[in-house]
Every structure is written in C-alpha cells, then in structure tokens.
Amino acid sequence: MAVSDAPRIVTARLDHPDSHTLRRFLATGGYDGLRRALSMGPEAVREEVNKASLLGRGGAGFPAGQKWSMLRKAEPVYLVVNGDESEPATFKDHMLIEGDPHQIIEGTLITAFAIGAAQAFIYIRGEFALGLERMTQAVNEAYEHGAAGRDVFGSGWSMDVVVHPGAGAYICGDETGLLESLEGKRGFPRIKPPFFPAVYGLYQAPTVVNNVETMSNIPWIVLNGGDAFTALGDNRSRGTRVFAVSGHVKRPGNYEVEMVKTTFRDLIYAPVYGAGISGDRALKAFIPGGASSYWFGPDRLDMPLDQDEVGKAGTMLGSGSIVAMDETACMVRAAWRLTKFFHAESCGQCTPCREGGGWLEKIMRRIESGQGREADLELLLDVCDNIAPGLTWPPRQTTICPLGPSIPSPIVSAVRMFRDEFLVHIKEGACPYGH
C-alpha cells in the first residue's frame, strides 16, 4: 500500500485547531500568494495556473486555467466561487470552508486579479451555518487586513468579495443554477446555448465559476509555481486532491492525497486513510466519485486516482466522494436512497428528470418493499435510458443540466452489478437484509 509523501497543499493548516483564524493564516504564509500575484501581474498568474494543469475540483474536472481563458471579451467580468457542496457523502468543501476560509479568500482574490474580475462572490450552501459564519468573519478580516477591498496591499488594485448563502437546493451547485440563485431567482439551471457562464453568466456578464477547493489550490500554485504542482500526480491529473471517504470504513474522513500515485485501495484500506472495512467485512462495491457516479466493484480497487483513467473505466472521480459498501449493505436500498435524493432535488424544469426521477424512485421503493415485478428491471433500465440515452459514459443527456443523467447512475450500477439481489427482493417479496 503506497501512501505518497506529497505535501498537503490545501489541508496543511487544518491540523491546527485555530486554522480558520487570520492569525494562524498569517503565521503560516497566508496572503503571501496574493502579494506575489500582485507583483507578478495577471498574465503571469494565469500562465502559472495554466502550467499547473489544475483540473476543477467541483466534479466536472475542467481545467481551471482553460476556463479562465474562455471568457467573452466584455466588461464587467465576475468571479463566482461555488461552495454549494450538497451531495450525499461529499464533505470536502464543507471542511475547507469551516477550516481554512482565508485560503479560499486568498485564492479567490488571486483569481479575481488574474481574470480582471470586477467583483467576486463566494456562494456557500445555506446549511453550512458555521462555515458561513467563519467565511463572513474571514472576509471581514481580509478587508481589515487590507487583502480585500480598496487598494489591496497598496497595489492600487481593488476587489470586493461578497459572501452569499444558498437557500437549500442541491441544484444551485450547478453553475448556472447557482448564478440564477445568486441573482435572487429560483435555482433553475440555464439553457446552454446561449447562457454559458463564460459568455453570459452572472447578470449576463462573462463569469468564471470555480469550486472552493480549486480556489484553495491557487495560493500554493502562485507561491510554488505551476511546475511544482505538475511534479505531483501524472498525466492530466496533477497535484493533490481531497477525497471524502465514508460508508463502511473504519476511519471515515477527508484525506488529501497525491493524484494518480494513490489508488482507491489506498484510500479505503491504508491505515492513515479509511483504514479498512468496518468489522473487517468484505467490500461489496464502492462509489468512486459521488452520488452521480457509476459504481465500482472490488476488482477496481487498484485503479489509480486518475481522472481520465477512471473516466475510461466508465465512471468518474466527480466530486471526490468515495463511499464503501460492505457485504451487509442492501444494494437495492442503497440505490433507492440515492434515487430518492436525486428525485427530491430535481429542480422540476426538464420533463425527463422531473417525472423520470419520481417514477424511478417509486419503482425502486416498490422493489425494496417487496412489491417488485421481474419486468421492473428492464423497465428501470429503459426509463433510465430515456433520461440518459445509451447509458454511456460520459452520459448523453436529455436535460438542461447534468442532474438528469445522474439519476440513472446508482440504479443502473445496482441492476447491472447486483441483478440477483433485485430478483431475490422480487421473488421473496421482501428485502433479504431485513429492511
């Protein structure tokens, strides 16, 4: 089991109980990256980030540097930081927001400087009460410290940072849903074309939307250089990433590991990470990249944490959430639970997601409660196919945003991998796990 000795880029400060304070932040190199960026100039900052091959940490994994270069040439430009992490079992951003808000603010300021933003917005999931408190406090401290607001560190450059709480909808984690919400509207994702954020984003202005973990990496990249970041990881997946490990593991938690050099097995079994399956039971399956990802069986444990490699295997690293399910877990119930989540969080715009999600949830509930029919399995797959035609990876979608094609992932995974378990539910008229 290989545990790399790569530096912890975004979680290093979290070992200190006062990691969220300005005092600790400044004592550990805080805002040095911003000072460096201001002296480098925007173009040089963009170059370093480009060099770093920093894949976005929100889920889609789009290269951050490339995103910044796609902005429509128009004034003003906005920067929006996405802290609406709301998926079940994904809790890495939660920790970064509560534990190191200044790091996010510093990354935000550097990015705003690099892209020539007129204003920056940090959108935080409304349920993160402590996170919101700490982020708001940190922004106030940043202003007092001269890192934000008028004439940052005497450079002549000014930037306002606004913290905005979400109102309890998963869909506002979708970047265009978030922008609608930020504008004070109902969180309906926008149609693309024409509303690509880089073209017509917040208030119809060109906008960069980046995840909080992505922002947290920026100060380090500016201070240490893009090359230092690229030295970690391999292929397109460079640097480190925070993975939220949960489910049937002995040590659930967030672990920052070097990409590619680390495997799923490391995360689940290494003593410093997941430390193995609870009760040393057998691993039945695991979710490799959040609720929307297709599942892996134990045969994929040795796959490296490489975004493209995992993609080629038919699923994704996604939001960086790994859920281990052991032999005591009912796969029908697990898939049903996730379907319930997606159904509840559908914004209701697109017919396939709105109606398909509810239909699938009802079928799954029926099977789990012992009322299933054998024909339901084909029905499940066909309904899923009507939401994400072909059930391919990456998914084809019939909906505006990716929530629609996320619904089939757990269902199709469970049906394909554990068809027998479904049949037992159907034949016995009850859940064999006693639910």
């Binding site: 559908s346 697109c350 709105r354 509810g358 196919d385 009507n386 035609p389 019939t398």
Partner: protein, 843 residues
C-alpha cells in the same frame, strides 16, 4: 440567384438530408417548421423566449463528436448544420418524453375542456404507446384552484412548460405566477394573498398546452369539436386585435387571439377576450321600445320607425335640420357609420354629429395629423406619450410598447399628469400639473435645452427628455386625453406644439372606443365628411354624390348637449352613446337628456342614458353582423358574423336606410357590400381599399388607410378633395392652482362601469370601487392616511371618498378613476372649465 445580400443572409442547413434555407439566428424548430417539418413541442412558443423545459423537441444535430440529441427550440441554425428529426434516437427520446409527461398526467380527458384541442392528447394519440407502463400512484392535487376570478388551475394536468409563467413575466410584465416547490411536486402558484390579476391573464389559458388553465367564462361550456369559428377583429378598444370568434351552434362561447404581426401578435386583453359574455347577456335589448305612459314598452319595428320618422319630419319642418343631432357611433362598423353619416348630413341635413362623447379629441386633430402605425411607434427613434394610461385603455398597445422598450430600448417620454402602466419602462415620465401639458411640450421642442421648470416638471427631467428628442428625427407621438378632468383644448394645444416643433413626427391617436376611428373616418363628426375631408373642402364632391349637405359646420358633443339642455334640439339620436356615463360632466348630460325633445337610442342595452330615451331601437353588435372596422392606426379590417342578433335587433346601417326610406329618401344601397363600394368610391382616404383587397391575402392583416400613393391607381376621375391637415394654434388660458387646492386628474381603468364589464358576469366584479388617490405628502399635510375618508369639495358638489396614498400622483393633484360603478368623477367636472380644482377636508 445573384441578389447578393439575400444569399449572404440565408443560413443553409441539411434537414433530414434535404437542403433548407434558414434565417440567421433562427431556432432549428422554426426553420424546420417553415420547411414543412413539424418538430413536436410543448414549451416552445414563437412569441416568447425559449426555456427548453419540456424536452419534446429533441432532434439529432451533428456536432464535432457526431450526432447528439439537441433541443430544437433554443439551438439556432448554423451554416452547414446537419439536423435529423426522424432518427431512431430522436424517436425514442421523444417517445420517452411523452411517456414522462403522461406519468403524472391524469386521464381525465373526457371531462377536460382541452380534450379535442389538446397538444398532449394529440401527440399521445399520434405517437404515444397504446398502453401505460406506469403502474404507480399518480401525483394528486386539489383541483382546481383559483389563480384569480377568471383563471383556474388544475395542477394535476400541468406539464410545467412555463408558457403561462413566461407570458406573465416576459410579455405582460405581471410576474404574479411562478413555480413553487420542485421535482414532480412543482406547481404554478401565485404569491400568498396576491391573485393573478393581470389584465392579460386569459392569454395563459389560450397558450396552455394542456387543460391545466381554464377560464371561468368558457369552463365546461362546450367541447372543441362542437365549435365553429370565424376570424374577426376585436372592437372592445381601438387597438383592433385579430381574433377567432367561436360559437357552439348559435351561442358564442369563446374568443381566441389570432397572431398577426402588425397588431396583436396573438395576444388579447381579458376585457376583449371575455367580453363575449355581454353579447350573450339576457339583458340585451331585443325589440324596439317606445315610451308609453312613462314606461318603455315593446313595439314592432314598423311602429317604432314610424314614430321616429314622423317626429323627425315635424322637427325638420318646424325647426329645421339644426334641431336634430346624432351622438355616438364608435360601436358601429364602418359601413354603419357611413350610412348614419349619410343619413344625418344628407337626408336630415344636420352637421350636429359627433361619434365622441367629449372624452376624446377634435376630429380634425385626429384625422389631420400625420398618422403612425403601431409598428412605427415601436420602431421609432423616440416615442412621446401624451395620452391616457395605455395599459388601462389600449392594453395590447401597452404590450407592444413595453416589448419595444425592453427588447430594443425604445426611448419613451411620457407627458402625463400621473404615473401610468408604462412609466416603469419609460426613459422619462414628465408629470405635469393638470392643464399644463403645453408648457411641457414647448420646453421639449425648444431650440435650446430647457433651463427652467415647466408645467410642474423639473428642468433636469425636461432637459434629459429634450436630449432624447435631439438624438432622432424619427419621433412618434401617441396622442390622446391624459386626463378627462382637463379640457381637450389644453391637450390639443400641446399636440399642436409638438406637431410644429417636431417636424416629421407622426401621431398614433389613442382614442379608446372600438371603432371610433372608423366613425370619424366615415364622417361622424362635426365639419367632417367621409374620407377625412373637411365639410367645405368636400362640399362639391359630396354634393354631387349625395345631393344636399349641411350649410355650416355643426356642434360637437359638448355643443350638442348644451343645445339640448337649452331646449334647442327636437331630436337627439344616441348611437350606442351613453353620455350620462361617458361624458365628463354628468350634470350637463342629465340636463341635455331632459331638455331634448325626442331621444332615440339605437342601443344594445338599456344604459343609464337609453333608459331615459323615448324610443329605443335594438341594434346588432359584435359577432352578430359582418362589415369592417378601423383601428387607431387607420387599419381597416374585416368583421365576421358568427351568430344571429338576438330577437329583432338590426345592424345599424339598415336602421339608417329604413329611416331614410320613411323620410322618402333612398340612401342608395340595399346590401352591405354596396355600402363599402360607395365608401371606397367616395371617401378619399379609402380609395383603393376594395372589398377584394380586404378579402385577399394582402388584406388579411387589415389595410391601413390611406393606401400609400404608389399602390393607388390614378384613374383619371374627378380630383378627390384633399384630406385634412392641422395647423398651429394659440395658447389656452386657465386659472393658477391655489395652495390649498388639489387639481383633479381622471383616467379610465380597464375594469369600469361600461357595458362590456357590467354586462359580463365574469368581469362585473372586477371594477374597483372609487377611491381618491393623492400623493402621500399631500395626505400627510391633511393628517390622513390610506383608508381614511375625506370630504372632497368640488365647485359642482362635494362627496365623501376613501383615500389612498399614491406616489404616482404628483403633489398638488388628486386622482379619481373615470366611469366607476356608482356616482363618480363625472359629477364633479364642469365641462366649461379648463381644469377642476378640489379641496379636501379631513373628517
């Protein structure tokens, strides 16, 4: 094939393997439809921005990674684009969406009003599976719930296409309905305690692709397959929206908006849409009535016409033609109006004729100013509104102007005594002190930027508006009566200033009543002959055609009422006119009806005025007779008959012809077509607008009179008289406002005490009660707040009114809606005063 610009402008796509030319920027769904390929859809509506919600229009579009399912409603065509609408993948996706839509859709088609004309039903029948795979419990809601007094929502049937919510927000500007909740619990909802009171709410019912939204006037009244329809033009106001008139047998059931580019784009206001209830009202006058022993009793047409004609003969013999007058005519068709104008001016010999009731503008101003169309107004470099609140009086014009302001940034300058529905969208709202519009107009057309306040408007606001007007030589003025509590001469003065000071400016007259423009065109105004000709200019031409003509110009409405009140009129005809309700001086109207010798009302209902008539002749109304009508642009379009008039009601032109006959004269036409042919032949402004032209595809949207010179044939006949023009005028004097008084402002509201509203059961309750709106500053001065009552003292009388603080009324003014149920503002106004000042007393 060598016309460069057009070729360059087209975008070439490959649609199902076939080369198709599309317009740049056009969505695939629209380009395909024009090429004859119908892509199924529910949420897409050509007059609204796409939302891509229903996902029904998924087609295959080839991209860098091969074909991908793409919504045709919001992806635009691109050069070389390959689109496939019938691939197995497309078919499966569309079938899938259809199935999803039906998952929670109740199967209550047999009791659903939409059944038979339902896109969801049609598509399911055409393409849907024979059997449902959905065995779960469907979503249930209480059904239906009222979104307003007019619109009901069945949430079980709703397929969340957002057509209604988009319409309310995007088109009507009344975002009173929106989605609540999410996933399959999503519902269209109003905000708590705030019903969907948009004046345009009925459009949401028409564009709802399922039976989720229904309107109370039609609900459960008919099945679509039992309906027959004809296309006609709404005459509720002067906008002239095209609409389909539907009936079940001989019973009017529903109107639907018809989409024509130059006017209404498919939309209707609720008053126009639901006003058919008045036509089928049991309260219609269905037989001639004569007052006998103080009571109006039913008689035969012969008896009624004999009575009228013998009284007329006596009057003409003893008192001369000046003792006869004709008021009203805006309800009439063009043909009716022409027949009555010919009867009055040629047979009776009187020029005391006025289609307006003192609430409009002099005919020579309306007809003499260079005219603009609605499209001209929307595409102007700047629009000046010297008009009433168009949202209240000409609702669909409001939709057009609002859209022009939002979509293309049409600069709107309002010269108004109070805030209007358009103020939100206007670049400048210049709120003048009642009576002082001309001062504002003078400042706007001055050669240098205004440096001083004028008419109560601050210099800075004037200066901004002045600059806007400097930037363009394409100005359109919407001209009407901003307030009925100030004399029309004051508005005319302002209009003359604008006409003289803005060379090239064109005018869109904002007179409200249905066919008032047609009535004026046909000569139902003093000093005017049919075809926008002055009495003297047209004397020779019409004398040759008609025989005799009045010797001199006659009286307008106010003059006629004054003459009647002084006992000088032996015969007063009311052509659908109700001066007691509509003339802005009820005292004068009351004295006039009492003082006139014989009052003959040609009417559809017994109004306050026709109740006092000696003879009532029942007239046919909208949808009961064919003909033509003319809107505010001068657009002539065809009316269609759908049902038979009730009882013994006749079209107005026939009544005129019969009366002429009994006076031993022949108006010269035995059918409607002959009337129009005579109009086309004689009326200079209508030359060339033949019946054939109106019936042809080129006339489908109506034809604006006069035809442009190049399209008119010069036939070597006698030279037609020149049409009217307007010169500059002189200033009007009026008293200064003293510090203790408020100056009265009065405009109409859509829901009022007029015939359409009060005789339509569904609309009747919508008219607001009369409340006095005053600037909060002035109310504070009185120590009064919203809801308190005050005593209002006007020169005429005093009354007690409830107050509302309203910052949309400028300081020093007090606003009362016109023609509300019960006693109203007309009781306070003295038609002989230029303005009306009132004092408020705290109770």
């Amino acid at each position: 094939m060598a016309t460069e610009p057009e070729v360059a402008a087209a975008v070439h796509i490959l649609l199902d393997g076939r080369p198709v030319e599309a317009r740049p920027g056009e969505m695939i769904i629209a380009a395909a439809e024009r090429a004859g390929v119908y892509i199924p859809r529910f949420c897409y509506h050509p007059r609204m921005k796409p939302v891509g919600m229903c996902r029904m229009c998924l087609v295959d579009v080839k991209g860098p990674r091969g074909f991908a399912l793409t919504p045709a409603c919001f992806v635009a065509v691109a050069e070389g684009q390959e689109v496939v609408t019938d691939s197995p993948a497309v078919k499966k996706a569309q079938d899938g969406v259809l199935e999803f839509l039906l998952v929670n859709h109740p199967l209550d088609c047999p009791v659903c009003d939409k059944g038979g004309e339902c896109p969801l039903q049609d598509q399911t029948l055409a393409f849907g599976p024979g059997e449902s795979r959905f065995v779960e419990e469907k979503r249930h809601w209480e059904k239906p719930i009222a979104l307003s007094d007019l619109v009901l929502l069945d949430r079980e049937r709703c397929i969340q296409c957002a057509r209604c919510t988009r319409f309310a927000d995007e088109i009507a500007g009344d975002p009173q309905i929106d989605f609540a909740e999410r996933a399959d619990r999503i519902e269209v909802a109003t905000f708590p305690g705030q019903p969907f009171t948009s004046y345009f709410s009925g459009n949401t019912v028409q564009i709802c692709p399922v039976g989720a939204l229904t309107a109370t006037p039609y609900r459960f009244k008919a099945r679509p397959w039992d309906l027959e329809e004809v296309e006609s033009t709404c005459t509720t106001c002067a906008v002239g929206c095209r609409m389909a008139v539907q009936s079940s047998g001989d019973w009017l059931t529903r109107y639907l908006g018809v989409d024509i580019d130059p006017v209404n784009l498919g939309w209707l206001c609720d008053k126009g849409r639901f006003g058919f209830e008045a036509i089928i009202s049991k309260e219609r006058v269905t037989a001639p009535l004569i007052r006998k022993a103080g009571e109006l009793v039913e008689v035969s047409w012969a008896e009624a016409l004999d009575s009228v004609s013998s009284s007329l003969k006596d009057a003409l013999r003893v008192h001369g033609p000046g003792s006869v007058a004709v008021l009203g005519g805006a309800r009439l068709t063009n043909e009716d109006a022409y027949a009555w104008a010919k009867l009055a001016k040629s047979v009776l010999g009187t020029d005391h004729v006025d289609a307006q009731l003192g609430d409009g503008l002099p005919a020579e101003v309306v007809l003499g100013l260079p005219r603009a169309t609605i499209d001209d107004a929307c595409s102007a470099g700047a629009l000046v509104l010297l008009a009433p609140d168009v949202k209240e009086e000409l609702p669909v014009l409001y939709l057009r102007l609002r859209a022009a302001a939002l979509d293309r940034g049409l600069p709107i300058i309002e010269i108004t005594p109070q805030r209007t529905g358009l103020s939100r969208y206007a670049g400048g709202t210049l709120m003048y002190r009642p009576g002082e519009a001309a001062a504002v107009a003078r400042a706007l057309v001055s050669s240098t930027a205004p440096g001083a306040d004028a008419g109560g408007v601050p210099a800075a606001a004037l200066s901004r508006a002045w600059s806007t007007l400097q930037d363009t030589d394409n100005v359109v003025v919407v001209l009407g009566r901003p307030s009925l509590a100030e004399s029309s001469t004051l508005v005319v003065e302002a209009a003359r200033v604008l006409a003289a000071g803005l060379p090239g400016a064109r005018f869109l007259p904002a007179l409200r009543r249905g066919n008032v423009h047609g009535a004026l065109d046909m000569g139902l105004a003093p000093g005017i002959l049919p075809g926008r000709v002055g009495l003297e200019a047209g004397r020779e031409w019409y004398a040759a055609a008609w025989g005799s003509l009045p010797a001199t110009s006659g009286l307008d409405c106010q003059g006629i009422l004054s003459a009647a009140a002084e006992g000088k009129l032996q015969n007063l005809f009311l052509l659908g006119a109700d001066p007691l309700s509509d003339f802005p001086d009820r005292d004068l109207a009351t004295r006039a009806l009492a003082g006139a010798g014989q009052v003959v009302a040609v009417d559809t209902f017994l109004s306050d005025s026709s109740k006092r008539a000696n003879v009532v002749l029942p007239a046919a109304m909208f949808a009961e007779r064919p003909g033509t009508t003319t809107n505010m642009e001068g657009r002539v379009s065809r009316l269609a008959q759908k049902v038979t008039p009730p009882g013994a009601a006749w079209p107005d032109w026939m009544i005129a012809a019969e009366l002429a006959f009994r006076l031993d004269r022949d108006l010269g036409f035995s059918d409607l077509a002959a009337v129009w042919d005579e109009i086309e032949k004689l009326a200079p402004s209508h030359s060339g607008i033949t019946r054939d032209l109106l019936a042809s595809p080129a006339g489908a949207d109506g034809v604006v009179a006069p035809l442009r010179a190049e399209s008119k044939e010069t036939d070597g006949e006698a030279v037609r008289p020149a049409t009217l023009t307007v010169g500059t005028g002189t200033a009007v004097e009026f008293p200064a406002l003293d510090a203790y008084s408020l100056r009265l402002v009065s405009g109409r509201t859509l829901w009022d005490a007029g015939v359409t509203v009060t005789r339509s059961p569904s609309l009747k309750g919508l008219a607001p009660s009369l409340r006095l709106r005053v600037n909060p500053y002035d109310l504070d001065r009185l120590g009064v707040t919203t809801g308190d009552s005050v005593r209002l003292h006007a020169p005429r009388r005093s009354c007690v009114l409830e107050t509302v603080a309203d910052a949309g009324v400028p300081r020093g003014s007090a606003s009362l809606a016109f023609n509300t149920p019960g006693d109203g503002v007309a009781d306070l106004i003295d038609a002989t005063s230029a303005v009306t000042d009132v004092r408020l007393e705290n109770l």
